[in-house]
């Protein structure tokens, strides 16, 4: 089946349609397309029969009864998924295709659609805009999906944040807020961001979420231009989050820029990997369904195949 070009996908009607196209169209071929959390509950014992996994044998029961029983588990009754979208100025960078915020919005919309379809709860936090972050609390109703998608649509279509104001909530604070909202209930938190954090505290916040036993998935969005720096000739670079302007000859600083970018990506990947965060570096020219498939496959793998 041909892949969906992100730019072509963006031209398709409203966000709910796009989300549905992605999930029911592109992902429909996937076997049991489902977003898994890692929280599972013990259900019952079953007598061992050949073919059962050895690792599930209850050795304590064997000690008491001298018979082999296999423990059977059940997914936690209802998964809570928090979708977090970074809508800061830097996410408005588009390069030659979709902007990072558009790409991230589409990914999260598709995930929201998928989660609601599997009758789990999905909530949304949009941060990086001026003022307080937008918060849609987690619900499992289909009507709730409309709210989530509408909020995402507004965020994607809305104007850029521009220069950050002093009362803006930082990405780290927004993530901490999610941790508080989830309270003691384990949740799956999916963050779509470029992680260009001036305070460099986002990674700390993600580590804290992991410490609270939440499952964290990070979609690290970067435009291809940010990874290859293909500019030529004298160029005036303007910042997306400030009035800063820079006149440079890109060829003169390309090597230095790429070295710095590679170092940044390596650091992010290493730190998040160490924290147990499910980290995905995503280029915005990459087909969205591939990105989602990567995420779903990783989740499935992490939760041991799911049941």
């Amino acid at each position: 089946m041909p892949k969906l070009d992100p730019v072509a996908l963006a031209r398709l009607g409203t966000l709910p349609i796009k989300a549905r196209v992605i999930v029911e169209g592109a992902l429909s071929g996937l076997h049991r397309a489902r977003l898994h959390g890692s929280s599972v509950e013990f259900a019952e014992h079953k007598e061992y029969s050949p073919g059962d996994e050895i690792r599930h044998v209850d050795w304590k029961a064997f000690g008491k009864l001298d018979r082999y029983y296999v423990k059977q588990f059940e997914q936690e009754s209802q998964l809570t998924v928090y979708l977090a979208l970074d809508a800061s100025g830097s996410m408005r960078f588009a390069g030659g295709g979709l902007s990072k915020v558009e790409y991230g919005g589409l990914c999260l919309a598709a995930l929201a659609y998928l989660v609601v379809q599997q009758q789990d709860k999905v909530g949304l936090v949009v941060f990086g805009r001026h003022g307080e972050p937008l918060h849609v609390p987690p619900r499992a109703r289909t009507s709730h999906l409309a709210d989530v998608l509408a909020t995402l649509d507004d965020t994607i279509a809305g104007p850029g944040a521009g220069a950050p104001a002093h009362d803006d909530v930082t990405p780290a604070a927004a993530l901490d807020r999610i941790g508080e909202l989830a309270r003691r209930k384990r949740a799956l938190i999916v963050l779509a961001s470029d992680l260009f954090d001036p305070d460099d505290r986002t990674l700390g916040a993600l580590r804290r979420l992991r410490a609270q036993k939440h499952d964290v998935v990070v979609l690290h969005l970067l435009a291809p231009e940010e990874q290859t720096f293909p500019y030529e000739g004298l160029t005036m670079f303007e910042a997306l989050e400030s009035d800063h302007r820079l006149l440079v000859n890109p060829a003169a600083i390309r090597t230095d820029y790429l070295e710095k970018m590679a170092a940044f990506l390596a650091r992010v990947s290493r730190e998040l990997g160490e924290a147990g965060v499910d980290y995905h570096l995503v280029s915005t020219d990459h087909p969205i369904e591939d990105t989602l498939f990567r995420v779903l496959a990783t989740r499935q793998k992490l939760t041991g195949g799911g049941r």
Binding site: D194, L234, A239, H244
Partner: protein, 700 residues
Amino acid sequence: MSVAFLAPLMLLGVAGLLIPVVIHLIGKQRARVVRFAALEFLVASKRRTARRLRLRERLLLVVRVLVCLAIPIALAKPFTSCASKGPVIARGPQAAVLVVDDSFTSGYRSGGRTLLARATEEAARILTLLGPEAEVAVVRASEGASQPTELSREHLRLRDQLADLTPTARPADLDRALGRAAQLLAGSSHQRRTIYLLSPLNRGALRGASPAWGADGPALEIVDLRDGGAPRPNLAVTSLRVEPDPGAGTRGIAVVAEIANYAPSPAPGVTVSLRIGGQIIAKGQIDLAAGEKKAKRFLASLPHGYRSAEVVVELPGDALPADDKRYAMAQLRDDIRVLLVDGDPHANRHDDELFYLEAALRPGDRAEAGATVTKLNPEDLDQVELEQHDVVVLANVPALTAERVARLAAWVEAGGGLLVAPGDHVDSGGYERTMLPLLPQSLRDPIDTAWGAAADERAARALKLTKWEADHPIFAPFAKDAPGLADASFTKIVLLGPTTDTDDRKVLARFTNGAAALVEARKGDGRLLLYTSTVDRDWNDLPIHPGYLPLMQESVRHLARKRVQGGTSDALVGQGVSVATLDLRKLEVRGPGENALFAGERLEGRRSVRFVGGSAAGIYRVTGTDRTGATRDRDELAFAVNLDPRGSDLTPAPASALPTGGAGEGGVPRETKRRVELWHGLAAALLILLVIESLLIQRA
């Protein structure tokens, strides 16, 4: 220097230099605008490169402005005219010879560089201007320098040859060098043939003004290294002589150095140092007028234990240090071996004919007397090897046989010294028959001035010595009226007859009656001395006067002079030096210039060998291996080699003395006006600027 243009209208193009300025300004404004997220990364990178970029941009602007400026100026063909005294050099196929003066004179330092350095630099420049098609040779003008055999187009090799030139120790011989240059050019098929002469052109280097080629010979271009004829002051030691000094005993020497001031101004208080055996032992000052030569005499005594010593006279360093030193070898004479032939031996020593003479030659029988005396009777003469003696004294000896006389005469001709003194045993007739080859004059009968006189009259009638040659070495120790000689009374003397077959006969002293007292003559390499009275007290009382001892000693030394001559500084660099073989089996000469080994056929059967390797001034020592196989330094054979004093005179030769070329060129370097095209240089600069611009763009 003024600059003019052949096509001045092209200068309008200078307005084009506005183009890069405008491009630079527009280019700055036409930068593409990109909104970018990861600006933080850019800022960090930019900080390091911004300054470099700005500098490069400005450099680029300057280079482009210069390019736009250089193009119209080059097209306008600028040129300038300059006057030069240098030679006229044309590029293209031709034959040329660079005659470079590498004599020791070229080591003269002027303006911090030697004249040779200036000459080679100028020669290299000429080589460049002649172009690669020119066939060139480099001829060295120092005397005896090896010369090229053909012209060559290998300019790189010629450049190396020029760079390797150093001042030699020889004087310049420009006539020979120019002759060799003309020979080289004569074999060339090129129409244009030129000799470029690079020399200080001092007076001594030019021995004849006319060139060694005819009117159809090559052209001669003289490169002026003379600073327009400005004087080059130079002080030099031009000669050095070491003589035995009779006044200072057997170890005494007199060192006579000639100092020359080749300058148009006087040189007062010039310090002259005498160095013997490496140590300064005397210093003196000398005042020299402009262009004056003056002798400076040092007296010294060589220390005991040394048979020879290096003598160096030096001046304080000046612009030409090579000639501020001169070397000589002072050879300590050996004892003079005197053979006394006693014609009137006597058992009683006081009555012996030789009693006084022997005592005078070895006073107190001490070793430092300087003489070894052997006594014998006339009949024992045949048993004696005359070659083992320096001086023979025939004292009151009756006429010898013709054979003995012939043997003695041959010995004298080979360099021996013979003193003949008469006595009662001497018969003038017998002497007339056989002894004439040993006499400067024939003998007549003796006269007795006291004959028939009363005892109190004898003293009054005695003859006195008078009118001696005060300048002669024998009488050097005596004052004009030396009482030690003048007071002696001579009662009997031999009168002299006709002269014999000898040279340089001279009466050195006479008696008051006008009769000769002492006659000297030269025979071959030897000397004859005839004393007309006895050497004992039979005929006179001189032996008991103070003048007897010095007179006899000096007479003997004078007769042995061939052996006791001091070292001289006659040998010049490049000239051969004759070294006596002394019957050695192997002989090695070592010196500052070159070493040489003589053995086998080069030595066998020769009395002397010729050493021609002295290419540097200094002392050359000789080591010899004798028949027994023993090898030792032969100090008596050591010799000094010095610079030719002709090269020390740096006075520029007058214009009339300068050589002229075949076509009448040459002579005084003339002033010429030359147009120098500048656009070649501008075009080269333009090319370089374009290369720089492309490099800057590439790096940007």
